[in-house]
């Protein structure tokens, strides 16, 4: 019971890490980005390549994954995404599906469609025995990393000038512009940061979520769901939503394996019916 809860939390923290950037994209620019999972996948492959081809230790690959995907995100934002901010949601959907397909095809071309092997360093493997329950060390590590990052992000959003600008822009972009906030620049930075976090999540997640070229589509709905349920512009909303989904999904697969992913999709539809504007959403 406790073990399932813990696995769910670890899984949920990953979802949170990846989805946070998406919540900024959807909340700040009202941009439907179905390709967000591709950034997470990119981070995963960066991690794998760095480890297997260049012998970089696992922990050192994490910042690399973050930086590389952040740069990729920044470039794509500048070149492509930016042009579609005012476009219809249909255009955004088509564009991001296109991007997703391209990323999947490219990943298949370069790495094949099979699961990427992952060898964690010795000290992250195994279990610790605490109060009668076994906890996977890697999952403990995962939760710790995400908790630390959440604290940093919470601080960033609540206490810094940039955070204030992000919050103001999400709340009311027009008013924020009126106050002299460069909303476009705020979004560029937030987009890069969000992509980086997704990349980091993808790298951290290889052990938990797996990594193959179908990753962006396979997890797309989870990321979207975190945002739809959690709302945008806060750290708290997506965090609660991600943990909730993580626990639900793991519990569903553990206790009623014959129904499988059905649980999460049913939960999704029910949550969307009950909270059309998200758990912490505000009506526009």
């Amino acid at each position: 019971m406790l073990g399932v809860l813990f696995d769910g939390i670890a899984y949920g923290s990953l979802l949170f890490l990846v989805s946070l950037g998406l919540s900024v994209t959807m909340g700040l620019m009202n941009f439907v980005n179905l390709a967000h999972g591709a950034f997470a996948m990119a981070g995963g492959y960066v991690c794998v390549i760095a480890m297997t081809r260049f012998g970089v230790p696992f922990l050192a690959t994490l910042p690399i994954a973050f930086v590389v995907t952040a740069i990729v995100g920044a470039v794509l934002e500048r070149l492509l995404y930016r042009r579609l901010y005012g476009a219809s949601h249909l255009d955004q959907v088509l564009f991001s599906i296109g991007l997703t397909f391209m990323s999947i095809a490219a990943a298949t071309y370069f790495f094949g469609s099979s699961q990427q092997p992952m060898r964690l360093p010795e000290f992250l493997r195994g279990q610790v025995h605490l109060g009668g329950v076994d906890f996977g060390i890697y999952r403990l590590f995962l939760v710790a990393v995400v908790a630390a990052l959440t604290a940093v992000l919470g601080f960033l959003l609540a206490r810094t000038r940039f955070g204030a600008q992000v919050r103001a822009s999400v709340d009311n972009a027009q008013a924020a512009r009126g106050l002299g906030i460069d909303v476009d620049r705020v979004f560029s930075v937030a987009f890069a940061l969000g992509s980086g976090l997704a990349g980091l999540g993808g790298a951290l997640g290889i052990e938990v979520l797996g990594l193959d070229s179908s990753f962006p589509l396979k997890f797309m709905v989870y990321f979207l769901l975190v945002v739809a349920v959690g709302g945008a512009g806060t750290v708290k909303g997506p965090l609660v939503a991600a943990l909730l989904l993580g626990v639900l999904d793991v519990a569903g697969k553990y206790y009623v394996p014959q129904v499988g992913a059905f649980v999460i999709y049913a939960a999704m539809v029910i949550l969307l019916i009950a909270f059309p504007a998200g758990l912490f959403g505000r009506r526009r």
């Binding site: 959907v93 088509l94 999709y265 539809v269 059309p276």
Partner: protein, 322 residues
């Protein structure tokens, strides 16, 4: 007036193409009926997306429902095709009607999530209910009877092709009527500005519920048609990829025109047949690239480009006449 008659002529010519293909390309009838069926499916999306402006990422749900309904009927011994087709349409319509209440109340993002969610939900349901649907192996043992008790489905696919063609043509005529009617105009009004419609006294939700239900029914008919003509239902008939590809072909052909759905489906299916034969990975890459390029440069689709060219041509010929 003569422009109108010219339009009619082009329409007749358009519908002669699939008939000519039947006579001239007997080796491609299987692909041909697939194109006709997918075109029907694309038409159903055109009604709700192209006319009513509802973005859907899960339209395959209704296609799959229709396919499983018709397929299961036949597999359990009821092989009469037309009633099976009707059953597929009715079941999908019922599901569409229920789903529509969720779909019409939200904004784009909520709609995307709901349609996506419903699609995935049904996919998982079909996947898990293997005792009924065959799960990942698909539903086989679909044994079809004769159409009108006369025309049996043949190996060469002649009956399947003509059957699909007839259904497509009938549904098309219905949709043509529907979209040029006051109801169709009100859907376009909703697409153009959902905020103004209630201010001129229009019950927006009721209209969208109707449109969505009709769209679902037609998707169900298309699914049923596929199940009957291929005598097989795969899990992929419900999948996200099918919904996404449908969206792509409709936009490729041009939305809100009906003919765009058919042209898009034909071009897409032929390109897929050719290119994915070369290498499926490349196909997906080029498809993605096409979409991205498309969004930036050619939003009217193929028919949009043709219309623009025709307009330019018309204008220059008018100038010459002067």
């Amino acid at each position: 007036m003569s422009a109108l008659r010219g339009g009619r002529l082009i329409e007749v010519a358009f519908w002669l193409v699939p008939l000519a293909a039947f006579l001239l390309l007997p080796g491609y009838l299987m692909l041909g009926s697939q194109i006709l069926i997918v075109a029907l499916f694309a038409l159903s999306l055109d009604l709700i997306l192209g006319y009513a402006g509802i973005v859907s990422l899960g339209h395959a749900a209704f296609f799959g429902l229709g396919a499983y309904a018709a397929g299961l009927l036949a597999a359990k011994g009821w092989g009469e095709p037309l009633s099976g087709l009707l059953a597929g349409g009715v079941i999908a319509a019922l599901a569409g009607f229920v789903a529509s209440f969720l779909v019409v109340r939200g904004e784009d993002l909520a709609r995307l999530m709901v349609t996506l969610g419903i699609g995935l939900l049904l996919y998982e349901a079909a996947n898990r209910a293997a005792f009924l649907t065959g799960g990942v192996d698909g539903l086989s043992g679909v044994a079809m009877g004769k159409i009108f008790g006369v025309f049996a489905f043949d190996i060469g696919g002649k009956t399947a092709y003509l059957y699909s063609f007839a259904v497509l043509l009938l549904v098309f005529i219905f949709l043509k009527r529907l979209t040029s009617s006051p109801f169709g105009l009100s859907l376009r009004g909703i697409r153009e500005n959902p905020a103004r419609m209630p201010a001129i006294g229009s019950p927006v939700r009721a209209r969208l519920v109707t449109a969505y239900t009709i769209g679902a029914a037609i998707a169900g008919i298309a699914g049923a048609l596929l199940a009957q003509t291929t005598q097989f239902v795969g899990l992929d008939s419900l999948g996200f990829n099918r919904s996404a590809e449908l969206l792509i072909m409709l936009v490729l052909g041009g939305t809100g025109r009906l003919y765009g759905a058919i042209v898009g489906a034909a071009v897409f299916m032929i390109a897929q047949d050719y290119l994915s034969g070369v290498n499926p990975v490349y196909w997906q890459f080029w498809l993605g690239l096409l979409l991205v390029v498309f969004v930036f440069f050619a939003r009217g689709g193929i028919l949009g480009a043709v219309e623009a060219a025709a307009k330019r041509l018309g204008r220059s010929s008018q100038e010459r006449a002067r």
